[in-house]
Amino acid sequence: MPQAKRKRDNSTRNASEYCTTNQSNQQETTDNTTSPAAPRPAKIPSIFQMRLLTHNMLSSNIKGVANGFPLKIEVVKVVEKEVDFNIDFLKNMFHKVEWKALVEASTTMGYAELPENADATMLDSDDFLHKFHHALLELHLEEGALVCPQTGRKFPVQKGIPNMLLHEDEV
């Protein structure tokens, strides 16, 4: 596609696109009788997904914000999806994860089975690995927001995609 055309598309489509998504998102909120505090996993399989591993890696990097992690989760729609169990991957990730943030996030998403504290010896326990797997990879935030703990700025999550782009004055 020629560059010039692409650019024009950008400016015209972007604005309206953004509006429609916002509307549908609001509709979702009102249709959904579950309150954000007590999310009920949706039944219909969906391919959109934001997992808690992603949440565990993100922070609000707004200029001047010192403590942008962990982002609070505002739940509109959570889905649970079975994902292949990959022990190498779990062991690989265990050392990279901020455990406390994962425990909090999974509780917000309606799963409170993770132990308060964890250390590498627990990786020998099958039961632990399955819980870790479930929290890290099988709970998906499909619609909602990630909220900066310091400023309250919301990073919307729509169709499982967190929008982490900053505004001009936040860079």
Binding site: M1, Q3, R6, R13, N14, A15, E17, Y18, C19, T21, N22, I47, F48, Q49, M50, R51, L53, T54, M57, L58, S59, S60, N61, G68, F69, P70, V83, D84, N86, D88, F89, N92, M93, K96, E98, L137, K154, P156, Q158, K159, G160, I161, P162, N163, M164, L165, L166, H167, E168, D169, V171
Partner: protein, 491 residues
């Protein structure tokens, strides 16, 4: 042990690096000295193999000899590769059939007999380069091998062992093949070969969600091989677009993550069944761990997060087709208006404006991200554009104290432009000093933007490496004549 490695005659610059990356992936450079003749004396990791050319062969020839530690490694490498037509245990070679016979006869029996037993099945394939021979002619050549004591039964469909009789005649450059002086005949046992059936399966034509800069399947698989993607590893593409590079990484079992600044591409696609996710679903591949909208100029990762990705693979947003964008508006950078505050009531629906993202800055951000986020030994694999002047690339590639550049593979896109796939391995930790230097550079770039924008030659800044701005009269001096008969890197 030396093996004969025959390549497909494509993407010539990509052939050896692919074999070397896969050789490392499959343990060819293990630290066990009894296992590896190539181990460097200081015991440090090595990334290249020993190669030799057959007599009279041009470096672009499809025929090479490569030293690999074992049949198993050779098989794994060949079977996972995209560009290896076959890796062979060479039983004999010669300039004519008499020499070939002598050579095969003198090859040790203990290496030959296990593959000639009566309870095995086999097939002999005949391959000629530089000329076509008839079916009868082929059979005649097979019969001429009767001095080899084949005891097994012939099975053309699914043999235990495949033997190849490969002949290269002397020819001038032809079909894009380099000229070879002198006839050479090889006979060997096939150890492994690329599975190119992958390519039609993954070809872009059948991809549900396509963008103008989607990476073609062959290149995406080559990139995933350079990155050594495999099960248990996490691979990140900061310019994910439609996800075509991650699809290849996921095929090899890696977990994937991607980001893009363009929300329409990464979130919306063309509807619920046509988006980045559906590109994975289409092939039954595991979904990416996460996709996000983010600007690689201000990555959204938390402060302490380091060494989390095993590989970063991407096609950054430079070049003629898709210019990069970064957040922070043009006006702001230009200093026309003061820092601008987005009114609160406009925030939710606000579309951050984006400024052009120059090549140097883009590469700087990418290297900084990779230095921080890759595990030690992790790989950064990305394209770098070069402008070709007078047929030679005089290019210095980006460098970084945390990285060692282990492969550069050029692909010519036109007379003027090439793209070079760079493979860098992280060999040093991301220190405070490096982080600080990167931060300073980051701020410098903000000022440079202003300059480039005012001078109005942003495009050339985007397309040429640092301090090497071409004078943009737009005229190209390279004449059509430079296109010789032998096409080298065009193939």
């Amino acid at each position: 042990m030396w093996y004969l490695c025959v390549f497909y005659h494509r993407l010539l610059d990509y052939r050896k690096p692919e074999v070397e990356s896969l050789a490392e992936l499959f343990g060819a450079f293990s630290k066990d000295p009894t296992n590896n003749a190539d181990l460097q004396s200081n015991g440090s990791a090595s990334y290249s193999l020993q190669w030799k050319l057959p007599k009279h062969h041009h470096p672009d020839s499809p025929f090479h000899f490569v030293n690999l530690p074992s049949d198993d490694i050779a098989r794994n490498v060949a079977n996972r590769s995209i560009l290896v037509k076959g890796i062979f245990e060479l039983w004999g070679e010669g300039s004519n059939f008499e020499e070939l016979e002598e050579s095969i006869k003198s090859y040790p029996d203990e290496r030959k007999l296990p593959y000639l037993t009566s309870d095995s099945t086999f097939k002999i394939a005949v391959e000629t380069f530089g000329k076509v021979i008839s079916f009868e002619e082929q059979n005649k050549r097979i019969r001429s091998l009767s001095y080899i004591p084949f005891k097994g039964r012939v099975n053309l469909k699914n043999p235990d062992h495949v033997f190849w009789l490969i002949e290269t005649d002397d020819y001038d450059s032809n079909n894009g093949l380099p000229p070879i002086a002198g006839r050479r005949i090889f006979f060997g046992r096939e150890i492994g070969a690329a599975d190119r059936k992958l390519l039609p399966t993954y070809q872009l034509k059948s991809r549900t969600y396509l963008g103008p800069t989607a990476m073609d399947a062959e290149m995406a698989f080559l990139m995933a091989n350079q990155a050594q993607a495999k099960s248990g590893k996490l691979v990140y593409d900061p310019f994910v677009g439609t996800g075509s590079i991650l699809v290849a990484a996921a095929h090899y079992g890696a977990m994937t993550m991607g980001a893009d600044i363009d929300i329409r591409v990464v979130r919306d696609g063309r509807g619920p069944d046509c988006n980045v996710w559906s590109n994975f679903k289409q092939y039954g591949l595991p979904m990416p761990i996460g996709l996000l909208r983010a600007d690689n100029n201000c990555p959204p990762w938390r402060l302490g997060l380091k060494e989390v990705f095993d590989a970063i693979i991407c096609d950054p947003p430079y070049g003629v087709r898709a210019g990069g964008r970064k957040s922070g508006g043009r006006k702001l950078l230009k200093g026309v208006i003061g820092p601008y505050t987005v009114p609160d009531d406009k925030r939710t629906g606000h579309i951050p404006s984006t400024a052009a993202y120059s090549l140097v800055e883009c590469v700087h951000d990418l290297l900084d991200l990779a230095a921080k986020m890759l595990v030690m030994g992790g790989r950064l694999v990305y394209f770098y554009p070069v402008l070709r002047e007078d047929e030679s690339i005089d290019t210095t590639f980006p460098e970084h104290p945390c990285f060692k550049l282990v492969a550069t593979s050029e692909q010519m896109l036109s007379y003027r432009y090439s793209r070079v796939l760079l493979t860098m391995v992280k060999i040093g930790p991301y220190t405070e000093e490096i982080a600080l230097a990167a931060r300073i550079k980051h701020l410098e770039f903000k000022e440079n933007h202003l300059k480039w924008l005012e001078e109005g030659n942003l495009h050339s800044a985007v397309f040429s490496p640092a301090d090497n701005h071409l004078n943009e009269t737009g005229e190209t001096k390279i004449s059509k004549e430079s296109k010789g008969k032998y096409r080298g890197k065009y193939v």
